[in-house]
C-alpha cells in the first residue's frame, strides 16, 4: 500500500488545470494555467517582475486557492481536502520564501527545526539531523544566533535549510539565490539537484538567474502577463 496521498507512478506530482487567480476585483494575475509535473522533475520558472511567479508558487505551496480551475498535488484535488489534510500536505512541501520568513525570536537551529517541531517530533530525535544541515549550509558557527544577527546571505541559507529539513516531496523556491555569492548559489543548486535525483523530489524554482538556468539545463516555464509558456530551448517534463 502506498503512503496516503503519495502519487501513483502515472500521476503528476503537480497538476494545474485551467487555473486563474485574481485578487479582489483586480484583473487576473494568472490566466488559464495548465501544468503537469511528474514526480522527480526539476523545473525552472522564470519571467519578468510582476508576471505572477510568486502568485503561481503560492498556489503550489497552498497559501492561496485559485479563483477558478483546479490544483492537484499527488493526484489529490486540493479543493476537496479538509484543513487537516491540507496541513498534512503542506508538510510534504518545502518552501524557500523570497523574503525568507525566518522567526526572529528563534535561533538558527530552532528555525531549521520548525517543520519537524510542528509535526510533533521530539528535539532529541532530530537534533543531529538539524545540526548537520545547518553545518552543511555553512552556518555551523551561527547555530545559536538569531536571524537579525545574520547577514542576508546567511538568512537565505537558513531558509533553504528549513525548507529541506523535512526531505520534502516537492521543493518550491522563490529566488533562492538572490542574496548569496555565485559559489554558494552553485552549492545550493547542486543540493537541489541532489535532492531531486536521490530522493526523487519534485523541484520548482523561480529565478531570474540565467547563468544558473543555462548551467543546470532543466526545463523552463516562462510566465508573461499571467500566461504560461514553455521555453522552447528546453524540453518540458
Amino acid at each position: 500500500m502506498t503512503q496516503a496521498g503519495a502519487p501513483l507512478a502515472s500521476e503528476p506530482a503537480v497538476e494545474l488545470n485551467g487555473v486563474s487567480l485574481r485578487y479582489d476585483t483586480a484583473d487576473d494575475i494568472l490566466t488559464d494555467i495548465d501544468i503537469r509535473l511528474k514526480p522527480g522533475t526539476f523545473t525552472f520558472l522564470t519571467g519578468p517582475s510582476g508576471a505572477g511567479k510568486s502568485s503561481l508558487l503560492k498556489l503550489l505551496y497552498l497559501a492561496h486557492a485559485p479563483t477558478s480551475g483546479e490544483v492537484r498535488l499527488f493526484g489529490q484535488r486540493t479543493a476537496d481536502m479538509s484543513r487537516n489534510q491540507l496541513s498534512a500536505l503542506r508538510r510534504r512541501i518545502g518552501v524557500v520564501f523570497q523574503d525568507f520568513r525566518l522567526l526572529d525570536h528563534l535561533t538558527a537551529f530552532e528555525n531549521v527545526a520548525l517543520p519537524l517541531r510542528v509535526s510533533g517530533e521530539k528535539p532529541e530525535d532530530y537534533r543531529d539531523e538539524v545540526v548537520d544541515l545547518v553545518r552543511w549550509v555553512g552556518l555551523g558557527e551561527r547555530m545559536h544566533a538569531f536571524p537579525p544577527a545574520l547577514s542576508g546571505g546567511e538568512q537565505q541559507r537558513l531558509a533553504i535549510a528549513r525548507a529541506l529539513i523535512n526531505k520534502p516531496d516537492i521543493l518550491i523556491a522563490d529566488e533562492p539565490t538572490g542574496n548569496v555569492d555565485p559559489d554558494m548559489a552553485r552549492r545550493i543548486f547542486r543540493l537541489f539537484i541532489e535532492l531531486n535525483r536521490r530522493l526523487n523530489t519534485t523541484v520548482i524554482i523561480a529565478t531570474h538567474d540565467m547563468h544558473i538556468i543555462r548551467e543546470f539545463k532543466a526545463p523552463v516555464l516562462k510566465l508573461q502577463d499571467g500566461l504560461l509558456f514553455a521555453d522552447s530551448s528546453y524540453e518540458q517534463a
Binding site: Y61, L62, A63, H64, A65, R83, N84, L86, S87, A88, L89, R90, R91, V95, R101, L103, H105, L106, T107, E110, A113, L114, P115, R117, V118, S119, P123, E124, R127
Partner: protein, 290 residues
C-alpha cells in the same frame, strides 16, 4: 538529552503587560462588584425581612396602663414574638426626623404605640390584633408598614438589579477586551502564524499556542485582581467591624466561604474566558486563510 526549545510565541512584550494590567483591573472591579452585589443582596434580604416582620399598633382613648394591657394581649397571640409599648425616649427617636434633635416640644400629645415583632403573614395577624383589641374594649389599630415595606422592596430591587447589571457589564467588558486583545495579538504575530501554517501546523496546534498564552495571562491577571479585591474588601470589613456604629444600609461584606469562593473562582473564570476568546478568535482568523 532533554533539549530546551524557545516557545514558538515570543515571550510577553509591552502590549501584553498593558493587557495584564487591564485584565487585572477588570477582574478586580468584577470581583469587588460581585462581593458588593452579594453584600447588598444579603443586606436587602435582612432589611426587607426586618421591615416586613414588624408592625405598629396605635392605641387611643386610654392611658399607658391600658396600652400595656393591650401589648400583653397582643403578645399572647400566635405568630407574635414580642410586643412592647414604646417609651418616650423611643418615641423621641422615632419622631426625631420630624422634630429635629431638640426633641418633641412640650404640650404636644404623644400617641401610644405598641411595636410588634412578628413572624409569618403580618396582614392576617394585623386583622387578628384589631379583633382581639376590639373584643377587649380597647380602641386600637394595627399598621403592617405595608406601603413603606413596598417602597423599601422596590428600592432594594433596583439596587440588586443595578449590582447584578454592573457585574454582568464588567464581565462582558472583560471578555470583550480579552477577545479584542487576542485578535490584536494574533495580528501582531501574523508572521509567525503564517510561517507555522505554511510549515504544516494544524489550526488546532496554532490555536493552542494562543490559548495557552491567554489562559496563563488570564489566570495571573485574574489572581492579581482578585487578591487586590480581597485586600480592599478586608480593609472595608475590618474598618466596619472596628467602627462603633456600622450602618444598616451598607452592604454586608463579611468574607464568608461564599465570598472566598468568588475570589477563588474569578481568576479561573477570567482565564477560561480568555482561553475561549483566544480559541474563537484564532480559529476564525485561520479559517479565513486556505
Amino acid at each position: 538529552m532533554n533539549i530546551k526549545m524557545t516557545p514558538l510565541l515570543p515571550e510577553s512584550d509591552a502590549r501584553e503587560a498593558a493587557l495584564f494590567f487591564v485584565v487585572a483591573a477588570l477582574c478586580f472591579l468584577a470581583v469587588l462588584a460581585t462581593l458588593v452585589a452579594r453584600g447588598t443582596y444579603t443586606a436587602a434580604e435582612a432589611w426587607t425581612a426586618q421591615v416586613e416582620g414588624e408592625m405598629t399598633v396605635l392605641v387611643s382613648d386610654t392611658d399607658r396602663r391600658g396600652a400595656e394591657s393591650a401589648a400583653t394581649l397582643i403578645e399572647a397571640l400566635p405568630g407574635v414574638e414580642r410586643a412592647h409599648v414604646l417609651t418616650d425616649e423611643e418615641l423621641d427617636e422615632l419622631l426625631s426626623p420630624s422634630f429635629g434633635p431638640g426633641g418633641i416640644p412640650d404640650g404636644i400629645p404623644l400617641p401610644l404605640l405598641i411595636a410588634v415583632d412578628a413572624e409569618g403573614d403580618t396582614t392576617a395577624l394585623a386583622a387578628e390584633i384589631d379583633t382581639t383589641l376590639a373584643e377587649a374594649g380597647i380602641n386600637g389599630r394595627a399598621d403592617t408598614h405595608s406601603a413603606y415595606a413596598a417602597e423599601v422592596r422596590k428600592a432594594l430591587g433596583t439596587l440588586r438589579i443595578a449590582a447584578i447589571g454592573t457585574v454582568l457589564l464588567l464581565t462582558m467588558t472583560a471578555i470583550s477586551v480579552i477577545a479584542f486583545a487576542t485578535h490584536a495579538a494574533l495580528l501582531a504575530r501574523k508572521d509567525i502564524v503564517d510561517v507555522l501554517h505554511l510549515a504544516g501546523a494544524e489550526d488546532r496546534f496554532i490555536a493552542r499556542l494562543f490559548e495557552r498564552r491567554f489562559w496563563l495571562l488570564g489566570l495571573k491577571a485574574g489572581a492579581a485582581g482578585s487578591v487586590a479585591a480581597l485586600a480592599v474588601t478586608a480593609i472595608i470589613v475590618f474598618s466596619a467591624q472596628s467602627s462603633n456604629a456600622p450602618s444598616e444600609l451598607l452592604p454586608k461584606l463579611s468574607l464568608d466561604q461564599w465570598d472566598l469562593m468568588i475570589l477563588a473562582v474569578s481568576p479561573i473564570a477570567g482565564a477560561l474566558a480568555a482561553r475561549i476568546a483566544a480559541r474563537v478568535t484564532v480559529g476564525r482568523s485561520l479559517r479565513s486563510s486556505l
